[in-house]
């Protein structure tokens, strides 16, 4: 039996966009999607896809990517397929637009996972680069009653258990978890693989499964938000940088050292 792996992924505004393009519409308390800069798959979720594909490289496995949102850029969300994932399931509905409410997102994803018959292993990115909540994966584990290991830098399967190298502040620990389990991964897992030409061709032919609220049997009352967003703003910086000059770079460096000495910092 192939190992059934689910990967949870989120479409986010490109975090690498220029700082000047980052703007907030305070009337709706939302970040304005920048013009001409397409969204991306959350970086940590690409690490999760990579972790799943590494398992698929070494044993029989299927990789299904699931995402929830109200509007998807299909070519963006197909990237995991072009990297080598087998299936893409998009939970798309106007009701699913409250992306700051982790409860709502985790609930949708867990309902979809149940409908898909569950997985032996679910891999997620540690957090999304938009709201940085780091809650949805742990919430899905709770809603589904799964064991959960967070902050993995390496994930493998050994017989009937999942082996995770989990980051700790001064190194890592090796954790064994049963199957099914949910694991979150971090960028320390390494660069996600690039899509191959063959992968891209295969992905263009694949159609995602798209489920709306009624496909999942979800009504608005089930999505009662757990948190309220009162304000969203860009913090002001009042720091003024004193540029240390010199006739050349070496002299500027020497002047810097003097300055730090005068300020009793060294």
């Amino acid at each position: 039996m192939p190992v059934k792996i689910g990967v949870l992924a989120k479409q986010v505004i490109d975090p690498e966009m220029p700082a000047a393009a980052f703007q907030i519409d305070s009337s709706v308390k939302q970040v304005v999607p920048p013009a001409n800069i397409p969204p991306v798959v959350n970086g940590f979720d690409e690490n999760a896809v990579e972790a799943a594909l590494q398992i698929k490289d070494s044993q029989e496995a299927t990789v299904t990517v699931i995402s929830a949102g109200s509007s998807f850029a299909l070519d963006v969300m197909k990237k995991p397929l072009s990297m080598g994932a087998d299936e893409l399931v998009l939970l798309q509905d106007d009701l699913f637009n409250n992306t700051i409410d982790s409860f709502q997102t985790a609930f949708l994803l867990s309902e979809a996972i149940k409908k898909l018959g569950g997985f032996d292993l679910i891999i997620c990115g540690r957090q999304a680069s938009d709201w940085d909540n780091a809650q949805v994966p742990l919430g899905v584990a709770e809603l589904l009653g799964l064991a959960c290991v967070s902050l993995g830098k390496k994930v493998s399967i050994d017989g009937d258990k999942v082996v995770v190298e989990r980051l700790i502040p001064d190194g890592f620990e090796v954790v064994h978890a049963p199957m099914p389990s949910l694991v979150t991964v971090s960028n320390e897992l390494g660069q996600p693989r690039y899509p191959t030409l063959r992968g891209i061709m295969a992905a263009t032919r694949k159609l995602p499964t798209i489920w709306a609220s009624n496909d999942l049997g979800i009504s608005p009352d089930m999505l009662e938000p757990r948190v309220t967003l009162h304000d969203l703003f860009i913090p002001e910086r009042d720091q003024v940088c004193e540029m240390i000059e010199g006739d050349n770079e070496e002299e500027a460096a020497r002047n810097l050292a003097q300055k730090l000495r005068e300020a009793k910092l060294i």
Partner: protein, 332 residues
């Protein structure tokens, strides 16, 4: 839970002593409890908690719940969650505050989901909205590019607070408080996952989080070798070496060096950045440094917006001259 009352700090005890993070969270907890006119509780988990309990009272707790079981002697998420869940059901707190440490990152969301309530994650500031006695939490989002103000719609209202944001109160050994023993039942089957090996790979010398001076390098260094030069300067200053995520992702230094949103949070007196552009996710881990010094060849780099002193130049020229002058100044 209309009768929910009290502010519960989820504490961390390490080898029987109260963790620094718990001292910090007790400080913000004290403020919130006083603003709400409620009691400040702390829940400690472990097997021997006598010293940590006394410390918790001296740092501001009114009541300590010592949640004990031999299985709680080491952190294990399942066991700790069961302990916290039992305690919350017993005392129905109005507010729960957790430090966003390695443990807190796991416990806070799972506890919130287990209790069916919301969580304000990774908060930089917690206040009480006096109009309706609810908690308001400021938290960085979009990698620190923006700040969101959120509140929780259900009780208990849970907030995870970023480490090193709040200063502990001065400990007062004459403070009076109550210690309530709360032994819990855990069957041996509870842990679903288990740690089989721990691999330490931290640099020798002073810990990054504790250093008064930190010298960090970024993508612009171009490789692992320049970190030797950073170490030389850090050593002269009695400090530690850190790195940006780009340097860690490139494999130049181990992950334990990473400063930033997903790495370590540091608050040194002096933070010298070398060839770091200053992406907001990096600044999220160091913006509370007292003085930031930036060395970068790009005068437009973001880092100069947060720096107190800057040198625009090639690090290969600036760093050796800086190190040499520091040597002369500090050793004369």
């Amino acid at each position: 839970m209309a009768d929910a009352s009290g502010v519960l700090v989820i504490g961390e005890a390490h080898e029987g002593q109260l963790g620094t993070i718990s001292q910090e969270i007790l400080a913000v907890g004290r403020q919130v409890a006083d603003d709400l006119g409620e009691q400040l509780y702390i829940g400690l988990l472990g097997d021997t908690l006598v010293n940590a309990s006394a410390e918790a009272i001296s740092y501001g707790a009114d009541v300590v719940y010592a949640v004990t079981n031999p299985l709680l002697s080491e952190y294990q998420s399942e066991c700790y969650l069961k302990g916290m869940e039992s305690l919350c059901k017993e005392i129905s707190p109005n507010v729960i505050l957790i430090g966003r440490t390695n443990q807190g990152r796991e416990l806070a969301p799972r506890l919130a989901f287990r209790l069916g309530v919301g969580l304000a994650q990774d908060c930089l500031e917690i206040s009480v909205d006096q109009a309706n006695k609810t908690l308001l939490a400021n938290r960085p989002v979009y990698g620190g590019s923006a700040v969101a103000v959120i509140s929780c719609n259900y009780t208990p209202q849970i907030a995870a607070v970023r480490p090193k944001v709040y200063e502990p109160l001065a400990p007062d050994n004459t403070r009076q408080g109550e210690v309530i023993s709360f032994p819990i039942e855990l069957d041996n089957e509870t842990p679903a996952s288990r740690v089989v090996e721990v691999v330490k790979e931290e640099a020798a010398g002073i810990k990054l989080e504790d250093a008064h001076t930190v010298v960090s390098g970024g993508r612009g260094l171009g490789g692992p070798e320049p970190f030797t030069q950073l170490e030389e300067l850090a050593k002269l200053l009695g400090g530690a070496v850190g790195a940006s995520r780009a340097a860690v992702d490139s494999g130049w230094v181990p992950p334990s060096y990473q400063v930033g949103l997903t790495g370590k949070t540091i608050t040194p007196d002096l933070y010298i950045t070398v060839a770091i552009s200053g992406a907001s996710q990096h600044m999220a881990g160091c913006s509370s440094s007292k003085v930031i010094v930036a060395i970068n060849k790009d005068s437009e780099a973001n880092i100069f917006k947060d720096a107190r002193y800057g040198v625009v130049g090639d690090w290969e020229k600036v760093l050796p001259a800086l190190t040499e002058t520091v040597r002369e100044l500090t050793q004369s």
